[in-house]
Amino acid sequence: MVVIQALPKDHETVRTATVEMEEAVVSIENFSLWYDLFQALHNVSIAFARNQVTALIGASGCGKSTLLRSVNRMNDLVPSVRVEGTVMYEHVNLYDPAIDPVEVRRRIGMVFQKPNPFPKSIYENVAFGPRLNGYRGDLDALVERSLRGAALWDEVKDILHQSGLALSGGQQQRLCIARAMATEPDVILMDEPTSALDPIATNRIEELINKIKEDYTVIIVTHNMQQAGRVSDRTAFMHLGVLVEEGPTDQIFTNPIHLMTERYITGHFG
């Protein structure tokens, strides 16, 4: 039995091969977050490189979702949230009082743990985002492009006007990815996108992630170490609101520097 030693809250994140300033699309700097009095994130700093997949790993409750949702300000929906620090996106601080969270979410899309298509047709699901802004272009083409992007087009091209809820779980999740792509974001956040899916559907989503990183920057939360290994370029390990270590995925998995990272990777806790 390994005793988990306490990690100081002012722990200095162990970094290898840091992301260069000019590569970074999103960079979180000295970011702390409180739910009421409970501090869920402690002074986290991390940069996410363009057209790369970054995996966030860590034990349940360590703040992965919180960190992810801080990037597109979904946490603003929780009334008691308070934050400190900055999240820079294209040289703009997303937490600047002048920035509307609605703008942020148009640039930074999100896919959730449980597939959550609207109870509308497949077409309407994908068209939802563009319609919010009164999309002027060719909506049909955009829907097709997004569905192709999410590797779903061939399966649904004949049933575009059937309910999105009639699809299988894996198809629903790809529909949600297509829906997120249709708003033409830069960054896509994924919070355990495959945890509700079977291995085959999971496999397809992973292939999809590997494909879409040509066009998007992806940040993915996962509990599945193999998945992190398969899809991500960089990995960040968190523990109790602290970012313990981050670096290239190979490095983290084969040669972790911090003891706690090593224990987590090798399955000794978590």
């Binding site: 597109n72 979904m74 929906l77 009334p79 609605v102 703008e103 979410r105 148009r106 899309g109 999100m110 959730f112 449980k114 959550n116 298509p117 609207f118 109870p119 939802f128 985002g129 919010l132 802004n133 809820l165 949600c176 829906r179 997120a180 708003t183």
Partner: protein, 418 residues
């Protein structure tokens, strides 16, 4: 308790049935089952009582809607078989012939709409279950016919022959179905035999329509505000408590409020719109509560999906929350309206008259609604009005059933599977 080994089981169990339990366990199981049966019995008794009560209620109302009556006719006094006449017009022809009118005369009357209207206003053409001892015959009842005697169906069900011999010269003896189809189309009258429900029925439909129009937007608006926008402070909590309390305020209080605010201050007078406003106030708390529940039942994951795509709060509310809560809201409103249209007390206060024989044709018309109409019939001196009132109750129940069915269809049709 230890688990018995197969050997033990075989040896301890009584000979006939195979069992996995030893004797002690079997006794306990039997006791548990007895317990279950006892409580099942306790729950079944009230259900049976309730069903019996409902059956009694429906039975007595339905029975009252049919009665024997002794009538002194002012028309020809003849009855016609189904073979003689099939249509309404056919019956009218036969009756007028029997009254000694010429064929020419009759054709003139039938082709003149004004004359026809007058005839309809004074006469009720009805297929009676029994007339003078014969089954299913057409009877034309005149407004001036005197009802000499009314017997309930049960009172005389096996004594038709005696009743017939008791009749005086020229009197007729009918088994009258008060709740017939034309009852809904006839106007009210001071004479029970020809009194109808049409003005009250149309009044009720007007009120239902206006109540929905008024309470739906106001109720849903309030619900949206409270659920989605209201800050969580002392004021909104107070509002919430009061909302729940308002749902329990006696309806007569709303009647008084309606009388002062809508009838007098707003100057609507005793009109359909005053009634609709009063009833809307009455059901608003219930509508708001139902709408809030429907809104709250929309899964948070759908809201997140919408926000995640860059929707504003209002876009999320209008494009995701409301469409998904719509069925729940509409069902809630229909059920609340069904509750409201049975209300009598507040409507008596805001001028739901017992006697209106003009069908309301605008929101400012005088009106009567089914409950106040029933109330005035029950208070009328002639005994036969009791039967008319029963027919009115059957119609009211019919309207209610229609509303419930509508609510159910909506619910089934649009039920969401997440």
């Amino acid at each position: 308790m230890s688990i018995s080994t197969p050997g033990e089981v075989g040896s301890r169990v009584s000979k006939d049935r195979p069992s996995l339990l030893n004797n002690e366990e079997r006794a306990q199981l039997a006791a548990r089952k007895r317990n279950g049966k006892f409580f099942l019995f306790l729950t079944v008794v009230p259900v049976i009582l309730a069903v019996l009560l409902i059956l009694t209620l429906f039975g007595s109302v339905l029975l009252q809607a049919v009665s024997w009556q002794v009538v002194e006719p002012r028309n020809s006094g003849q009855t016609f078989s189904l073979r003689e006449a099939r249509t309404w017009e056919g019956v009218v022809r036969l009756e007028l012939l029997a009254q000694g009118r010429t064929t020419q005369d009759i054709e003139a009357l039938l082709s003149d709409s004004e004359e026809l209207r007058k005839f309809k206003a004074r006469n009720r053409v009805e297929l009676m279950f029994r007339a003078n001892g014969e089954p299913l015959r057409w009877v034309v009842t005149n407004i001036r016919d005197d009802v000499e005697e009314v017997y309930s169906l049960i009172e005389r069900w096996d004594r038709e022959r005696d009743s017939l011999t008791e009749l005086a010269e020229g009197q007729n003896y009918y088994l009258n179905p008060w709740m017939d189809f034309s009852f809904l189309l006839r106007n009210n009258s001071g004479r029970p035999t020809v009194a109808g429900l049409s003005s009250a029925l149309v009044g009720t439909l007007w009120v239902i329509g206006l109540v929905i129009l008024l309470s739906l937007p106001v109720g849903v608006g309030t619900a949206i505000y409270l659920e989605e926008y209201a800050p969580d402070n002392r004021f909104t909590r107070l509002l919430e408590v009061n909302l729940r309390n308002l749902a329990g305020v006696p309806s007569i209080v709303y009647g008084i409020l309606g009388l002062y605010v809508f009838v007098r201050t707003a100057g609507f007078g005793p009109s359909v719109i005053a009634a609709a406003c009063t009833l809307s106030l009455l059901i608003l708390p219930v509508v708001v509560i139902a709408a809030r529940e429907a809104i709250r039942a929309v899964p948070g994951s759908l809201r997140e999906a919408s926000y995640g795509l860059g929707a504003t709060k209002w876009q999320t509310v209008s494009r995701v929350v409301l469409p998904n809560a719509a069925t729940g809201i509409v069902t809630g409103v229909i059920l609340a309206v069904a509750r409201a249209i049975g209300e009598t007390a507040p409507l008596l206060m805001v001028g739901g008259a017992g006697f209106v024989n003009k069908v309301p044709d605008s929101p400012l018309s005088n009106y009567s609604v089914i409950p106040t109409q029933i109330y005035s019939w029950i208070n009328a001196p002639q005994k036969a009005f009791d039967n008319v009132a029963s027919a009115g109750i059957v119609s009211l129940l019919g309207v209610l059933i229609l509303l419930y069915v509508l609510a159910n269809i909506l619910r089934r049709r649009y039920e969401k599977k997440w």
